[in-house]
Structures are given as C-alpha cells and as structure tokens.
C-alpha cells in the first residue's frame, strides 16, 4: 500500500539500526531519545502543523504523564501500565478542561496562554514537593515489564519505545488520511468555511489538542520508567520550545516532517557539544536561520529540492499561491 510507504521505510530503518550497529550506545540510547521525541513531535504536529494552532506548553503534558507514572508506581506501588493509563486519563481530563477557555484564543494569545499553562504546571511540580519530590525530583522509579519480561536494558527500551513510536506514526497517518484529518486541515484553512461545511471547529480543535496531549503523556510515562528518575527541569518552557521547534523546523503538516524534526533536533545538541561554549549561540542561530530561510520546514524544503532535481521542474504551488494572494489584494 503506497499510502504507508513512508511508514514501512521508517519501520525498517528503526528495526535495522540496532542490527547493523550492535551494542552501540549511540543507537540504543540516543536512538531511544529520538524515538521518544518522535512520539512528542508527531502528536504536536497534528495540533500545530495540521490544525494550524500553537502550543508553547506541551512539556506540561509530558510532565503530567511522567509524574503520574513516577508517583503512582513509587508511592502507591501501582502497576506501571495501569499508572500509564491513569496518566493518560488525567491528561485527558486536564487537556479538556484547559481547552475550553484556551482554544477560544488565536495566534499570539493562544501561544501565551499555553505558555502560561505550561509554566504554572512546572511551578506546581517544583512547589508541591510532598508528592513530587520538588526541584530534586523523584527517583527509584521501577521499570516496565511485559508478561514478566523486564524492560531493563538499553536495547529493550529502544525496542519498547520504537514500538510506541511506530504506533504514534501509524495513528497520525491514519487520521490525516480521513474525514478527521480533513476536518483538522479545514479548520487551519478557513475556520468559517469549515463551520459552514458542518464542522464543529471548537470540538475539532479541542479533540486534536487532547489527542496531542495524550501522545505527550504516553511519552512522559515511558520517559519516567526509562530514566527511573524525573525532575521538573525536564518539563519546562525550554523543552516545550524544543518540541515546537521539532515540529516547525522539521516541517509542518507532515508526519514525517515531524519525525525528521525530532531526529535532527535530538542529534543537534549531541553534535553541538563539540562546540562547547558556543552550543547555545549556534542553536539559537540555527533556529533563526532555519525559520527565515526554510519556513516550510527542513523536510519539505529538502523533499522539494530533491523532487526538483529529479524532475527539473520547480514546484508551482507556493509561487502561484503567492500570486493568487497578490491578485486578491489588488481586486
């Protein structure tokens, strides 16, 4: 099925890597982090890329998932998978509650509201140290186990997270190529026209917000068990920005753009470490440069260039869309 072409390529790549490079820290540990970020980016991409919204606070949902798993398994000795489900349920409730007032906003106001929400959640995690462990975090989180099979090696974690990342991508692809996907993109294209076609745009935006939050929660729970330790630092404004950057820099409205963004943005700090003190400076520079010169994202930019090279013809849509818009201004 050509529809899932990309998915199969991704699945093959993910499966082959640890085979081609056995016992490689880079593949299993850094790879696992990449795969975790894939889940986050693909989920957020549905909200930002396809539905055309913005969220600068998604690390909060990542954190709620992580802390739910951490607290329930350490203090209440709940089964890890159940704790994960509780985390998902909690995020479902919180995201729905938060969505009602927040999603009435657009553009900068929405950005700011999500930012505020994210920071408030982070501050709560720091302040409520009686259950959260405060700024020092929460450790000794037990690992996941599947039918008695403990997931306690790097390779097993790689495999587990890879599985969930595949599920996330598949779900995203299925949704996009369906009535729901068109609903999202219609809301992005013209909210009023979408409403006129019978789309309850408020419900649509709420649902995609909640869905992307649940992706983040799942990733958070996996993260908590993998690291066996959580602290509020990992769930702040900085990380929210990182996830948004993965989506935007990778390529919006493209599941594999988000995957690509996750890969690039996870590897970038690893490579930038070489530059030591210049790391932050260069990272900031790349963000700016990337968005200025490739606003449609790295993935779309590269695929367009490759396509142009193969067909010796430039993509007409962007230019004629601009021309179209100019026409409308004049008329």
């Amino acid at each position: 099925m050509s529809r899932l072409k990309g998915f199969y390529v991704y699945a093959a790549a993910v499966a082959l890597l640890p085979i081609l490079f056995p016992d490689n820290y880079f593949v299993t540990v850094v790879g696992a982090t990449i795969l975790l970020n894939v889940i986050l980016a693909v989920g957020l991409n549905l909200f930002i890329g396809y539905a055309g919204q913005i969220s600068l606070g998604h690390a909060a949902f990542f954190g709620i998932g992580a802390y739910s798993s951490a607290v329930l398994t350490t203090r209440f000795e709940l089964n890890a998978w159940l704790a994960m489900l509780v985390g998902l349920g909690l995020v479902y409730v919180v995201a729905n509650l938060v969505a009602r007032p927040i999603l009435k906003l657009k553009g900068h106001y929405l950005a700011m509201a999500t930012l505020g929400f994210g920071i408030i959640v982070n501050i709560i995690l720091v302040q409520e140290s009686s259950w959260s462990g405060g700024p020092d975090g929460l450790g000794d989180i037990p690992t996941l186990s599947l039918f008695g099979f403990e997931i306690d090696t790097d390779l097993r974690w790689y495999g587990t997270i890879a599985f969930f990342s595949l599920a996330a991508i598949l779900v995203s692809l299925n949704i996009i190529d369906s009535r729901s996907g068109r609903e999202l993109r219609a809301v992005h294209g013209s909210e009023f026209a979408a409403q006129m076609m019978g789309v309850d745009t408020v419900r649509t935006r709420t649902n995609v917000f909640v869905l992307s939050a649940m992706f983040a929660s799942l990733a958070g729970s996996l993260f908590a068990h993998q690291q066996a330790f959580v602290s509020p630092e990992s769930f702040g404004f900085g990380f929210s920005i990182e996830i948004v950057t993965m989506v935007v820099l990778g390529g919006m409205a493209s599941t594999f753009g988000a995957v690509f963004g996750a890969i690039v943005l996870t590897l970038l700090p690893e490579t930038l470490v070489v530059f030591e003190d210049y790391e932050m400076l260069i990272f900031g520079g790349i963000l700016m440069g990337g968005m200025i010169f490739m606003p449609q994202g790295l993935f779309v930019f590269l695929t367009q260039k490759i396509r142009a090279l193969l067909h010796r013809r430039s993509a007409p849509s962007q230019k004629s869309q601009d021309a179209q818009k100019t026409l409308e201004c004049d008329s």
Partner: protein, 253 residues
C-alpha cells in the same frame, strides 16, 4: 412552499443600523436574488443567516425551524450551505480534498475510528471520493482534482467553492457575489452552473451586483437600501419600481 422566512430582522453595530426591520420569504426551489448598493446590508444578512452574526431583533426560520441561537455548523446541518464573497478556499489542500470536506455532514468517522482505520472508514472514504468527483464534474473541475487549490485561477476557485458546497447535498445555497471578478465568458458559465443547481432542486439565495445575471436567472428579487426593504418582486416588477429607480439612478429634478 416557503423554505426560508425572515421576520423583522434587525442588526446594528454600535450606532450603525446595518439591517432594519427586514422581512421576506424564499420559496422552495426558486432563485431569489438580493441586490442593493454597497453597504445596503446584503452581507450582514448573509452572515446572520449563517449564524456568524446574531440578529438584534427578529427571527429566521428555515424549513419550519427557528435558527435562533444556532451555531454555524448547526445551521449547516439544517441543509444550508454557502459560498463566500472573499474566497474561503482551503488553500492547504487539493481541489478534491476541498470538496471532500463538503461531505463532512454526510459521514461519521471520528478520531478513534480514523486512527484505527476500520473497514467502515475505508468504505466511507471511497463513498466520499465518489460524491466529491460528482460535485466537481457538475462544476466542470473534475480534471483538476489533484491540483493544489492554491494553483487555481480565480474563476475556477469560485467554482470550487460551489462544488464544495454542493458536496454537502444542501437544500439551500446562499451565494455571495458568485460573479464578482469574472469576465463575460466566465459569467455566462456561472449563470449556466447556477441554472444546473436549480435543476437539482436546490433553493438559491443570490447576492449579486451583476444586474444582467440577476435579471436573467432570478425568479424573484429583493432590493435592499440602507438595510431596509426597498422593493420585492419579479425581475420585471423590480426594474419598473419607482423607488428602486430612484435609489439607483436618482430622481428627475
């Protein structure tokens, strides 16, 4: 049989009275045009019909149901669709996908079913494609199905909006200046398209400035001036109405 009834509609924005005490009714299956100079309240009327504006007074009843308090998507579910004066095309999708959005109300797949891609979803997708291609064919756009909507010229985009609205299988179509910006040939094609829509049994509410088009295809015409009803009747009656002539051409001194 009356399909749409507006009674004593009032709409003002601050001190500006956009629509005042407006009453009219549209018969099922007819082409009912609304004309009037700019600022006469035509688009305000449209936006009230679609739930975008809430009337300050009066009511709108469609097929016996009072539309008061309904959200736009609920009004759409009653069988009303619309095209826009300032194009509201989904530029981020292909031509076919634009029209497929039109089929939204005829299908049921939600997020969960879509995520799992159940067989019912695949069946529905096939059906939606069929319906959409049909709508595109009626509007003469089927050969452009897979093009990015943004690459289409203006005249075809206007027809795309119609195809999209058509895909929702509406009982009633409100068209906001469909001939605006079209040249003579395109206007003739638009007139023929509107005619085909009427033949399918769709009631049409038309706002237009192109008098030739209006007088040729309308069954009845409503003339608005300063938000008030100036005249209503057949194209013949309206053309000969002294109040209308005065509003458009002035009086003999």
């Amino acid at each position: 049989m009356t399909i749409l009834q507006a009674v004593n509609l009032d709409k003002h924005f601050g001190g500006v009275a956009a629509v005042t005490d407006l009453s009219f009714s549209v018969t099922e299956g007819e082409i009912y045009s609304v004309i009037g100079p700019n600022g006469a309240g035509k688009t305000t009327l449209f936006n009230m019909l679609c739930g975008y504006y809430v009337p300050n007074g009066g009511s709108i009843t469609f097929a016996g149901k009072d539309l008061a308090g309904m959200e736009t998507h609920q009004i759409a579910a009653q069988g009303i669709s619309r095209t826009f004066q300032n194009l509201q095309v989904f530029y981020n999708m292909t031509v076919l996908e634009n029209v497929m959005v039109g089929c939204h109300m005829r299908t049921h797949t939600g997020l969960i079913k879509a995520a799992l891609r159940l067989p019912s979803v695949i069946r529905e997708e096939r059906q939606v494609r069929e319906w959409s291609m049909e709508a595109l064919e009626l509007c003469g756009l089927e050969h452009l199905a897979d093009r990015e909507a943004g690459s289409l010229p203006y005249g075809e985009l206007k027809r795309l909006e119609i195809a999209r609205a058509l895909a929702s299988d509406p009982k009633f179509l409100a068209m906001d200046e469909p001939a605006a910006g079209l040249n003579d040939t395109e206007t003739v094609e638009m007139r023929q398209l509107i005619q085909r829509l009427k033949e399918r049994g769709i009631t049409i509410l038309l706002v237009e400035h192109n008098m030739g088009l209006v007088m040729q295809i309308s069954d009845r015409v409503l003339v608005l001036g300063f938000g008030c009803l100036l005249a209503e009747g057949t194209p013949q009656e309206v053309q000969n109405n002294p109040a209308v002539i005065k509003a458009y051409l002035g009086e003999d001194v």
